[in-house]
């Protein structure tokens, strides 16, 4: 048993790129679901259009990095508008079905042979993060304490990533304290009452969908920048589901809930995965093969999610009165 590797990869996961990517996705979901009560099951689509927006602009159109970022942001806003118009006036389950369908449409288009020239088929696009790492102020080397070490590229990504995460948290904090945020929470509690007060519920919901999508799309950027590539199948329904698990674990409608949730989620996910893999590799679990560790890990996430929702839907820091799941 290689306990040191298990320990270091677990600690890496707590502050690593996965936590940044999924933390941002979860902050977006928190704006949708936690504050406004919108069931957007297509968060992965926002991340996909952002990642691909950046990748295609840089690799296919040969435009600069910053143009790519703006294309990605624009694509996320556009997607939110397209998804919101048909569904935001309907009941919650329709929004859920349509967003999940929209995410699937986008994944299928990105991976299709028809558009291989643009999106690169199932291989996706790679080689668009050069400009990002060219801005790296850290000299080459390895940084860290004891066994927990990052190279200069990862450190740069994590620095920028955590700054964006904190900025997003600050934005959420300020917005939700404002009158605008109070309207969102009121919509979550009772849409009709808000309408009776003369507020344009549709417009508020749309703004929430756009804002959450834009925050989530930064997760897509960082995914692409860290991995140096975007592939369509990464942005499947599992990604959205993980974001939901993170929001509910940390506590919905809490500013730092998604961030803490992401840290705990990835620590548990990586720890259980590594532990199982080590146990299997060393023959302690004779009836399982190493390839079966993956599905078991995902199945455990599903099981944990179910138990969490049944036993403690407010998560670790949440307030039970602020959970939208029993309303309507």
């Amino acid at each position: 048993m290689d306990w040191l590797t298990i320990f270091t990869t677990t600690v890496h996961a707590a502050i690593g790129w996965e936590t940044v990517v999924y933390g941002l996705a979860a902050i977006g979901v928190n704006i949708h679901f936690g504050y406004t009560g919108l069931l957007n099951f297509g968060q992965a689509a926002f991340m996909a259009v952002a990642g691909y927006g950046l990748a295609v602009t840089v690799t296919v159109l040969n435009l600069p990095f910053w143009v790519g970022i703006f294309v990605g942001l624009g694509a996320a806003v556009l997607l939110a508008l397209l998804m919101g118009i048909p569904t935001l006036q309907l009941r919650a389950d329709y929004l859920a079905i349509v967003t999940i369908a929209a995410a699937e449409i986008i994944r299928l288009i990105f991976r299709s042979v028809q558009f291989k020239g643009v999106f690169g088929g199932s291989d996706g696009r790679r080689g668009f993060n050069g400009d990002f790492y060219a801005m790296n102020p850290y000299p080459e080397g390895r940084y860290g304490i004891g066994p927990i070490v990052f190279d200069e590229r990862t450190l740069w990504l994590l620095t920028v990533g955590w700054i964006v995460v904190l900025l997003a948290c600050g934005l959420v904090y300020l917005l939700m304290k404002s009158p605008w945020g109070r309207v969102l929470k009121a919509i979550r509690e009772d849409e009709d009452a808000v309408r009776a007060l003369g507020k344009n519920v549709f417009a508020y919901k749309m703004q929430s969908l756009v804002l959450g999508g834009v925050v989530g799309c930064f997760g897509g950027f960082f995914y692409g920048l860290y991995n140096g590539a975007v592939q369509p199948d990464v942005f499947g329904t599992e990604m959205t589901f993980f974001a939901y698990t993170i929001v509910i674990l940390g506590g919905a409608a809490r500013v730092f809930g998604p961030v803490v949730g992401a840290m705990i989620f990835w620590v548990l996910f990586v720890f259980i995965g590594n532990l199982l893999a080590e146990l299997v590799a060393n023959g302690y679990i004779p009836f399982m093969t190493s390839i079966q560790v993956g599905p078991i890990r995902y199945a455990l996430v599903g099981l944990g999610f179910i138990l969490l929702l049944i036993v403690r839907p407010q998560g670790i820091f949440g307030d039970k009165r602020e959970i939208a799941i029993d309303a309507r």
Binding site: F41, D93, P295, A299, L309, D326
Partner: protein, 429 residues
């Protein structure tokens, strides 16, 4: 805090329970090239494939097995040349486009899949010839409409259960696709694992799936309803259930694609412009029979009437002496069984994979939404429309994007007639 402890204990308990399951050896990690040769959905046995390095050094020669699968392991990552010997293919077939050489790249620790699309020799020439004429377009459209009807009936089986469960309990069940997969995988387990012929295996699978549907409501959803869990909460929980079931199925079944052992190779019958394997006709007959029987049961039997009463107004139904829980349990049993049947039929007409239910779930939703959420007959009409639409749209849309068309239609329907074809206005607000 106490609750958190309970949750964690349950989590660990589940872990032990899961680990105690029987083993199924998945394929080991590999580095090389593999592929599956299929002609009109049937595996091609004994086709010769030779692999050489990019420079032409021979690596290995293999032949495809009874499942049409071939596999070559290589020592070094890099570019390789794969040649399929056209002479070793069945007499009436050829490689589509005529190019029988592929040059894939092998990455370290990865298996790359090499695709050779095969087609019938006469068919291709015929199609080219006919493509010039008006009649071929209609012949093709008829063939696709027939295939679409087949798919539509399968979707309808899934949609019926989903719609009935929604109607009686208000639950939008995102785990319904996994019930479809479960049926197929259970039938596969009986068919291949216990060497039972497919028809009794399918019946066993449907019975077991029905029992599991009953158990699911008795021990899970029913308990949640008793606790007063809201429908939105249950919908989110159902996504967790879907992830759990899908990955458990993958754990036991593995990530590969499989087929049943029976009815794989059947000669097609020519019915006017349509060619169909007898198994498809039988499957459609069975699907139609099941749909008619369930429809009649809903209209005529006491339980069916009770079910419709419950979906209209549970409180009123309960106060007029209907045992709502019993009705819901019957619906869950039936819904699970019908979904399993859909899975078997889907496995029969295509192939089995752990994601098959996930893939068809959105089409089921499209069918249900088109017909009207919560209406059993709307679900039937909507599903058949979706199935036919998907297949016929391949006349203009590349086949890999055919589901996209259906999902776009789903969104457009919500824009203009959100209650669906047969739905009622009050359900959407």
């Amino acid at each position: 805090m106490r609750r958190a402890v309970i949750a964690f204990t349950a989590f660990l308990g589940g872990l032990i329970f899961l680990l105690a399951g029987p083993a199924h050896a998945g394929p080991a990690d590999c580095q090389g090239l593999k592929g599956t040769l299929k002609l009109q959905g049937q595996p091609v046995n004994g086709a010769k494939i030779s692999v050489t390095t990019e420079g032409g050094q021979p690596v290995q020669e293999v032949t495809s097995n009874a499942q049409g699968i071939w596999d070559v392991q290589v020592d070094k990552p890099g570019k390789y040349k794969v040649t399929l010997d056209p002479g070793s293919l069945p007499q009436n077939s050829q490689v589509r486009g005529g190019n029988n050489v592929r040059t894939p790249t092998v990455y370290e620790g990865n298996c790359s899949t090499v695709l050779f699309a095969l087609e019938a020799k006469g068919a291709a020439a015929g199609a080219d010839q006919e493509a010039t004429g008006e009649s071929s377009f209609w012949a093709q459209a008829a063939q696709l409409a027939f295939e679409g009807l087949n798919l539509g009936l399968i979707i309808a089986l899934g949609a019926l259960g989903l719609s009935l469960i929604y109607g009686t309990t208000g639950l939008t069940n995102f785990a319904h696709g996994e019930l479809v997969t479960l049926g197929a995988v259970l039938a596969y387990a009986f068919n291949v694992g216990f060497s039972i012929q497919l028809i009794p295996a399918a019946i066993l699978a449907v019975v077991v799936a029905g029992a599991l549907g009953y158990g699911q409501d008795r021990f899970f959803w029913g308990q949640l309803r008793k606790r007063g869990t809201g429908t939105i909460a249950m919908m989110i929980i159902s996504i967790g259930v879907a992830i759990l079931l899908r990955n458990l199925i993958q754990f036991f079944f593995g990530p590969q694609t499989e087929t049943f052992t029976d009815y794989n190779t059947q000669a097609g019958l020519q019915l006017g412009p349509i060619s169909a394997a007898p198994k498809n006709l039988w499957a459609m007959g069975i699907e139609l029979a099941v749909l008619v029987v369930v429809g009649l049961a809903l209209m005529k039997t006491r339980t069916g009437k009770a079910a419709r009463a419950v979906s209209d107004n549970p409180a009123l139904a309960a106060s007029s002496g209907i045992n709502v829980d019993r009705v819901i349990r019957i619906i869950w049993t039936g819904g699970g069984a019908i979904a399993a049947l859909a899975g078997v039929m889907l496995g029969l007409s295509q192939s089995l994979k752990f994601t098959m239910g996930q893939d068809i779930l959105l089409l089921i939703f499209a069918g249900v939404t088109l017909g009207g959420l919560g209406t059993a007959f709307g679900a039937l009409v909507g599903s058949i429309v979706v199935g036919v639409f998907i297949q016929v749209s391949t006349l203009w849309v590349p086949p890999e994007l055919k589901s996209v068309g259906a999902l776009v239609v789903l969104i457009v329907v919500l824009l203009f007639r959100p209650q669906g074809i047969l739905g009622r206005r009050e359900r959407i607000g």
